[in-house]
């Protein structure tokens, strides 16, 4: 976000609300951080000044606690359980419906979502990288998903640089953060008295232009740049930066899969919070009057019993094979599908795992064992 320092503006702290107000005035439903049940969630900002201040998210395997930020910043919490994914890939939605008349004739019709313009304030570099992967999946050339496309086109993304990574963050090792580099409409870097603000799209530039920001000083830009570098250096977890495909796919019978299966509850929390997981089930919901039925999709998890269901048997009957499916898809076969790993380093699967399973530890155990043998 600092490649063109001459284009960077400075948004004083007091003017953050005017950015929100501007987006609301442009017709956007504005979402931003809020606190619910002890965690940061993205919720509708009813008023421009509704963004909470002075919170940090302390995270560890199986642990997430909000604490006070001594510097009283707006975006010192690294992340919450969800950010952009539910806004583009809806957790549940109707795909088509069918009407049946009394003679039994069927009439099928597509159902397209009615989607408002939505702006989301406070997304992270990892979230943007994940969105790019969701785009690659759902907007595949020649076979774009109409529902996803409809929502995606109406999104306005205000990213913020992470200056305060959680202990679960590993975006520096995956190359996806902590400073946003692409995929945003506006990116902010929070300093003590305001934000260095840059536009990443024409839409973003128009909004910033209307705010009449003064240019950011070189010193402000350098400070922002430096805090991004410090945040990267402060990360304590990492994945090997090399392509893990062959390393993992050659260890499909490694005893560690059995070991992790004794700890994994197959609850699917990791999948639910993962910003790149795209599996969904399709289900039918017939109306009680017997005259119509909705065909809907709902987020699904490869840890669930039904995921590998095939007539009469289950392809992945045990937790060992399900955890292996999840991890090898994310870190190995994702390379075959999308040309990169499916992990963007957000660390959510570590924090939100009730058993505290840490994928970086699993990868280390799976790959070290082999280099030793």
């Amino acid at each position: 976000m600092f490649s063109r320092p001459e284009d960077a503006g400075f948004l004083p702290v007091a003017q953050l609300a005017s950015l929100v107000a501007k987006l609301i005035a442009l017709g956007y439903r504005c979402l931003g951080p809020g606190v619910e049940q002890g965690a940061i969630v993205m919720r509708e900002l009813d008023t421009p000044d509704a963004i909470p201040r002075g919170l940090q998210a302390e995270q560890a395997p199986g642990r997430y606690r909000l604490t006070r930020d001594p510097h009283n910043r707006y975006f010192a919490w690294a992340n919450g359980p969800q950010a952009i994914k539910p806004l583009a890939f809806a957790p549940t939605e109707s795909l088509w419906r069918v009407e049946r008349d009394t003679a039994g004739a069927l009439r099928f019709c597509a159902v397209l979502p009615e989607t408002p313009l939505q702006a989301i304030i406070g997304v992270r570099a990892c979230d943007l990288a994940a969105l790019a992967l969701q785009d690659a999946h759902f907007l595949r050339e020649g076979r774009a998903d109409a529902h996803y496309a409809e929502r995606r086109e109406r999104l306005f993304l205000v990213a913020v640089q992470c200056a305060e990574p959680a202990a679960t963050c590993l975006c520096a090792s995956t190359g996806d953060g902590p400073t946003p580099t692409t995929g945003y409409d506006i990116a902010l870097a929070e300093l003590a008295d305001g934000f260095v603000a840059v536009a990443g799209s024409a839409k973003g530039a128009a909004v910033l232009n209307d705010l009449n920001l003064s240019p950011a000083t070189l010193q402000q830009i350098e400070t922002a740049q430096k805090q991004g570098e410090d945040a990267a250096a402060a990360q304590t977890r990492s994945l090997p930066s090399r392509n893990l495909r062959d390393a993992l796919m050659s260890r499909l019978e490694h005893p560690r899969w059995d070991e992790v299966a004794t700890r994994c509850l197959a609850c699917g929390n990791c999948v639910a919070v993962c910003p790149t997981c795209f599996c969904h089930a399709e289900t039918d919901e017939p109306a009680l009057d017997g005259q119509s039925s909705e065909h809907a999709r709902i987020w699904d998890s490869c840890f669930g019993e039904a995921h590998g269901h095939l007539h009469g048997f289950n392809v992945r009957p045990d937790i060992r094979s399900r955890y292996r499916q999840w991890l090898t898809h994310k870190l190995a076969t994702w390379h075959d599908q999308f040309g990169r790993s499916g992990c963007v380093g957000c660390g959510r699967c570590i924090a939100w795992c009730p058993a505290g399973i840490d994928l970086t530890e699993e990868v280390a155990a799976l790959t070290d064992q082999c280099s030793a043998s």
């Binding site: 088509w96 049946r100 069927l106 109409a146 496309a149 796919m249 999709r297 590998g308 045990d318 076969t333």
Partner: protein, 280 residues
């Protein structure tokens, strides 16, 4: 800007005929209701359709009819789950939804001049039947046709008359086996792989296509490759859970492949390594 292509909704189709093939297996002949949709519909042997039962859901079913026979689309189904049990109860005139065809079928066009060896197990014979139709319509373009089918119990064998009929055709060999025979069972009792030694074909100029339980296909592949069939001439049809059929819902992933989109037919070398691992 982004148009749904074939992810749904389905097209309405009418059941024209249903045939009970065995106590649990039945064949539905379907006709798409819309004239333009019907005219446009083409499939390649090995591809599948999603069949929708009102209010219950969709299932992927391979097309078993003759690809040249326009207007009628045949599916042979085993009643096992909620949708297929419901489909089994349908009769002529009943309505279903149909979308497809999906996936990559058998590579028949590139295999002219070859002997064709079909190794199928159980209901794996259904996706192979359209290959048989295809080859028989173009008999001069292919060498020998070897049809090998195995079932668990003798009473599971469907299409007995067809197997008898194909066996009488020139240049065609039919070999059938049941793990458990019965008093009137005229064929081999044992594994389908036992029959491969009896199959007469020129391995250097043959293409083999397999569909059935993965254990059976693995054993058959070993046997065929031992007979010096080139690995590039060995194909199999895979089966996985499928909801969307367009490579989106993620259920059918097999390694990096989406079986619905990149398969269901794969070259042996594409799946060989992963097939060895239970739970993939």
């Amino acid at each position: 800007m982004h148009k749904p292509i074939d992810a749904g909704p389905p097209h309405a189709a009418t059941v024209v005929a249903c045939t009970q093939e065995s106590p649990t297996i039945f064949t539905l002949q379907l006709r798409l209701d819309d004239e333009a949709v019907r005219q446009a519909y083409r499939f390649a042997p090995g591809q599948f359709n999603m069949l929708y039962l009102y209010g219950v859901g969709e299932v992927p079913i391979s097309v078993m009819s003759d690809p040249e026979e326009r207007g009628m689309i045949g599916h042979t189904v085993r009643a096992l789950g909620r949708v297929t049990h419901g489909l089994a109860a349908l009769g002529p005139g009943d309505k279903v939804g149909l979308r497809g065809p999906f996936g990559r079928g058998w590579p028949l066009q590139e295999m002219g001049g070859c002997d064709v060896v079909l190794v199928t197990g159980g209901l794996g014979c259904a996706p192979a039947v359209s290959v048989i139709h295809y080859v028989l319509r173009r008999r001069e373009r292919f060498g020998k046709l070897v049809i090998i089918q195995g079932v668990k119990h003798a009473e599971d064998l469907i299409w007995r008359e067809q197997y008898d009929g194909w066996a009488r055709l020139p240049n065609t060999q039919v070999l059938v086996a049941a793990d458990q025979g019965s008093t009137s069972w005229p064929w081999h009792v044992g594994h389908v792989t036992d029959l491969l030694d009896l199959a007469q074909f020129n391995p250097a100029r043959a293409v083999a296509m397999m569909c059935g339980p993965e254990g059976m296909m693995r054993a058959a592949a070993v046997s065929l490759l031992t007979r010096a069939l080139p690995e590039t001439h060995l194909f199999l049809s895979m089966e996985r859970n499928m909801h969307c059929a367009v490579g989106r819902c993620g259920h059918c992933q097999f390694g990096g492949a989406f079986v619905c989109r990149d398969g269901p037919v794969f070259g042996w070398s594409e799946v060989r390594d992963l097939l060895a691992h239970r739970g993939y």
